[in-house]
Point group: C2
Chain length 129, copies 2
Amino acid sequence: MTIETDIGQVEFPAYGDYESDCPARLAVDIFGNSWLTVIVYTLRDGPLRPVELRRAIGGISQKMLTQTLRRMERMGLLERRRYAEAPPRVEYALTPAGIDLLTPIFALGAWADTHGDAVRAALYGDPGD
Amino acid sequence: MTIETDIGQVEFPAYGDYESDCPARLAVDIFGNSWLTVIVYTLRDGPLRPVELRRAIGGISQKMLTQTLRRMERMGLLERRRYAEAPPRVEYALTPAGIDLLTPIFALGAWADTHGDAVRAALYGDPGD
């Protein structure tokens, strides 16, 4: 199926019924956690230490960061690397599954570039920045 | 920036700092509402009446459907069309902004096709269906 969108003509693969038990539903559940998405995006250029992650993201509590990192590691999106230095150094890196999540994340970003101001204005009466 | 992913080589536009106040953050907020995403997907082939939407989606309460449709209409993702018939007929259709949301939604679907089983297995100990 080819659909004409504001950001070009897009070829969509034919999926089964998303509505019942399609894999896309899992993806939606994943994106329901905003911090997860922000963390994947923040690690796009390579591994970071927890303190660097927290500084880059801004506005995330230590507790929320730790919880989200643990869940993402369990999901196989992140790899925790511990280096036996003194003091020990810990870094988080995207796995291949985590790297592949960058594709829909950037597609969301492109959508927001095109429509974000209008949606914000409609929701909050704010023309955007 | 070009990134090699399991679903091909992807060219990413250069964005500003997502971490602070980038439009992508709004998109993440939008995808935080799973029903919104499911509704956009379900309307991909054209307008539907509320009863048809509810049947196609499955597992959504009337109250949740109504609330989500109202919010999406306010956001400018949906258009409510009321036909002066007896009884009056109401349909919901995607606006151009809603249609463009199909692009990231299908990117999520492609990701889930590739990685969904592994993530499900990691999270729930279930090899998928």
